[in-house]
């Protein structure tokens, strides 16, 4: 997403101070600080779409699609025809295979930005996937009117027509797609597949070999089509080898899916072990799950928490820092990091993390309580008392917070 320049230009003047601070932190690559400032900007002006857009960008850059989408949907709630949000949101949905969710966004986008070639092509792709052939054809053709050599539209329309048996119309489009973007395996694959259908196996083989030696080298369907071409050419050993490669790649894909399924089961099992008090085994199960989901911030956080409970402080720190790098706006992660650092007697770091947590979630009493403890240990009694007071105010029924406050107050 290239939203930043526009966002800066559009910032509302009254709340621009917070927004500017957020942008400054963002450019200094300090996501947590950026988020705090941007949220302050939104608190000042809830309709500041540019702040939401930057937050979306921040999350998207870290692969945190769900939160990015949340921010984009907020933009669309404020401005339903916001082109940037429509485009970014539909992209996120499409990337995750959520065609039905992308559809209304794209339908709005082609009206809001009628000359957007990618919007027309993306919408046509969604229609094609949903079996709406006529609408898909219309969309691809509109994209090609806007940009005659637009690869996704050439390939999409060519494939659509080839699948409908209209080879006379399909083949020139697919051949043009290959010329326009010779490095893309998709063009060679689609052309090779169409040629297979036509029984032109020699040319199909050439195209599919190009696909199989380029970026399509790990795509099982390329090798399936290649096997078809070899079959048509009566090249039995080559066909067998292509099918073997297809099977191996398919197995690899399935193994990955199975690993994800197992990871979910391990996480469930860890939860039960945790309830039973078997922290060691629970941590071991979560470690297994992490191999399948190395970038899942929730899992990293759970691992951090478990290791913290097991007093493996360095390991806990590593995990929670990893979680924060993916999801910097989650106050809980900063809170845990604060506790970890407090435990390690790294009071400056602990204070910094707890202050971030407190800014991200100013209604959580335990954060202020922990912050008070750290401040007290640093000898900042007055600030500690203020933190404990906030904790007590937020959770007046908690005797521990009240006791901490009483202990921290200067004795007469």
């Amino acid at each position: 997403m290239n939203l930043l320049l526009l966002a800066m230009a559009l910032a509302a003047p009254d709340c621009g101070k917070h927004f500017a601070a957020g942008m400054d932190a963002y450019q200094r690559k300090n996501p947590a600080e950026a988020l705090i400032a941007l949220r302050a900007a939104i608190q000042c002006d809830p309709k500041m779409v540019q702040a939401h857009l930057v937050i979306a960008n921040l999350h998207a850059e870290r692969g945190n699609g769900a939160e990015a989408l949340g921010a984009l949907l907020e933009v669309l709630r404020i401005e339903p025809n916001n082109v940037l949000a429509l485009r970014a949101g539909s992209n996120l949905y499409l990337r995750n295979g959520l065609h039905t969710k992308a559809l209304p966004l794209l339908e709005t986008l082609v009206v809001a930005a009628p000359d957007s070639v990618d919007a027309h092509a993306d919408l046509a792709g969604v229609y094609a996937a949903g079996g709406k052939r006529e609408a898909a054809e219309k969309g691809f053709r509109r994209a090609l009117e806007l940009q005659p050599d637009y690869f996704p539209a050439l390939a999409g329309l060519g494939n659509l027509l080839a699948r409908a048996g209209d080879n006379d119309a399909a083949m020139p489009l697919l051949r043009r797609a290959v010329q326009v973007l010779p490095a893309a395996y998709e063009g060679h694959f689609l052309l090779g597949s169409a040629l297979n259908r036509l029984g032109q196996f020699d040319e199909a083989r050439a195209e599919l070999e190009l696909a199989s030696t380029s970026s399509g080298q790990n795509e099982p369907q390329v090798f399936y089509q290649l096997a078809r071409a070899f079959g048509g050419l009566s090249m039995a050993p080559e066909r067998k080898a292509a099918l073997a490669k297809f099977s191996a790649l398919t197995k690899q894909e399935k193994d990955n899916i199975e690993l994800q399924r197992k990871a979910a089961a391990w996480i469930d099992e860890a939860r039960l072990l945790l309830q039973a008090g078997d922290l060691e085994t629970a941590a071991a199960r979560l470690e297994l799950a992490r191999e399948a989901k190395p970038n899942d911030p929730t899992l990293l956080f759970r691992l951090a928490g478990l290791n913290f409970d097991l007093q493996r402080i360095d390991v806990a720190r590593e995990y929670v820092q990893a979680a924060i790098s993916i999801s910097p706006a989650t106050w809980l992660y900063h809170y845990l990091l604060g506790l970890v650092e407090q435990n390690a007697n790294r009071l400056t770091d602990a204070r910094a993390s707890l202050e971030v947590a407190a800014k991200l979630q100013p209604t959580e009493a335990p954060v202020f309580n922990a912050l008070g403890q750290v401040l007290l240990a640093q000898g900042e009694r007055a600030e500690a008392v203020a933190a404990f007071e906030t904790a007590v105010k937020l959770a007046p029924a908690d005797p521990a917070f009240r006791q901490n406050l009483e202990s921290a107050k200067p004795r007469r």
């Binding site: 039905t100 949903g130 409908a164 259908r197 369907q221 079959g231 099977s247």
Partner: protein, 549 residues
Amino acid sequence: MRAMLLLALASAGPYFVEEGQRAGLNDIFVCGDEHQKNYIVETLGTGVAFLDFDNDGLLDIFAVTASKLEGFAAGKEPINRLYRNKGDRTFEDVTKKAGVAKAGWGQGVCTGDIDNDGFVDLYVTYWGADVMYRNRGDGTFEDVTPPSKGPHWGTGCAFVDFDRDGKLDLMVASYVDFDLKNTPRPDGPKACQWKDEKVMCGPQGLRPALNQLWHNESTPGRVRFVDVSKKAGIEAPGPRYGLSVTTLDYDHDGWPDIYVAVDSQASLLYHNKHDGTFEETALESGVALSEDGREQAGMGTAVADYDGDGWPDLVKTNFIDDLPNLYRNNRDGSFSEATVQAGLGLHSQFLGWGAAFVDYDNDGWPDIFLVNGHVYPGVKSGDYRQQRLLYRNGGLGKFSDLSKEAGAAVMEKSSARGLAVGDYDNDGRADLLISNMNDRLSLLHNTATAGQSLTLRLIGQKTNRSGIGAVARLRVGQRTLTAEVRSGSTFLSQSDFRLQFGLGASTEAQAVEVQWPGGALETIGVLKAGQIVTITEGKGVTGVTRYGK
């Protein structure tokens, strides 16, 4: 010239008229809740069969029912039904009299003469324990179910004499090793999703099951089937979500092979190795996956020589947002997918189940009939009730969608599942029987002004009495028409064993030959159109009945 002839034969619609209620088929066949499917067992529906159980020359009907998860009050449970054909295009319910009034979670049905006594027997699959019925020949059946390996979820089945010993063996597909208690519901915390809507779970994520092969070791007076699934290599590919079963000798080696349409995984082609074992060759043969190499949700299957080259081709139905597969036999042990080229790439908005090749207009080219219906009743992104599809075979490897012209009975929307083909009024035109989810059966009477036809009833002597696996070839003008007697096929259903050949404008088949399952070739002379001819192995023509008699 031929094109002109075909045009001359084509008549204005409708080609089929709904006659179910007129025929007395008023019972409702149940499969789970009508409005909300919480579990996958509620989605498959049930099968139907055309069979002549009393050998009166008229096709009777057997229809399977499932149940509801909440059950029924004692005595109110839905039961499978046997309807006897009264000869006036109406049927009478003889279920109780015949001794086949069984409740339970029925699924599929297939037929075959397991004891070679000349009376067709029945096998009914269940989510639970399957049932085998022996026809006593006096209008009643007895339960001769072999000791099972325990409850399973049986789906499609087919009788086939895989070792050519003259006795029909049995192939049964299994779907899911289903655990009702531990399967999430759509209204529960671990609900599954389809297109962002909460739906029942499966089959992906549930445990697949192992297909079964039973060897017929019956002796006179004693029916006995032995499970040979492992020994014969049926279990070798591992558990799958198996649905329909069809048999075909795809490589013309004289030994029957078995194709199983598999849901959400690669489908299976068991190649007969002539020694009582099979080798799974679907991937190598090109019938495991879609044209793109994707696993599909295979549901129903049908086999016929659609392009007139004498070799059996395959059609398979699939899930919504996908196309059916038309696999053309390459005559070298492999198939090529011809779906799009053949004109079957038009509709991806239907979720297909029963499939059949049926030459509805008797022009000598097998047409394709498909029935459809969604699995999720309430979803916004697809119709639960869907029309049927009739694709007319134009004779040049191309089909055209004639559903609308075929009439309201074809365009009627239902959530259909099972499909059987048979000429129940013996007028020389193939009729259709369809099972619909939680609804009455549909009986589509063929009213097309069609070409001439000839129907062959093949009776084995050394080979199985049902003639299953026998291939008839008719020379009609410059063409040779080929068809095989088979059990099972379509979806959970059984079509008539008799082979009906459309002869177009020709009033006779100039030559007829029958290749019996053991390979023996029997040559018959000229046979006139407009009749049902019984050919008994080794004896030639042993009976002739004019249509309508």
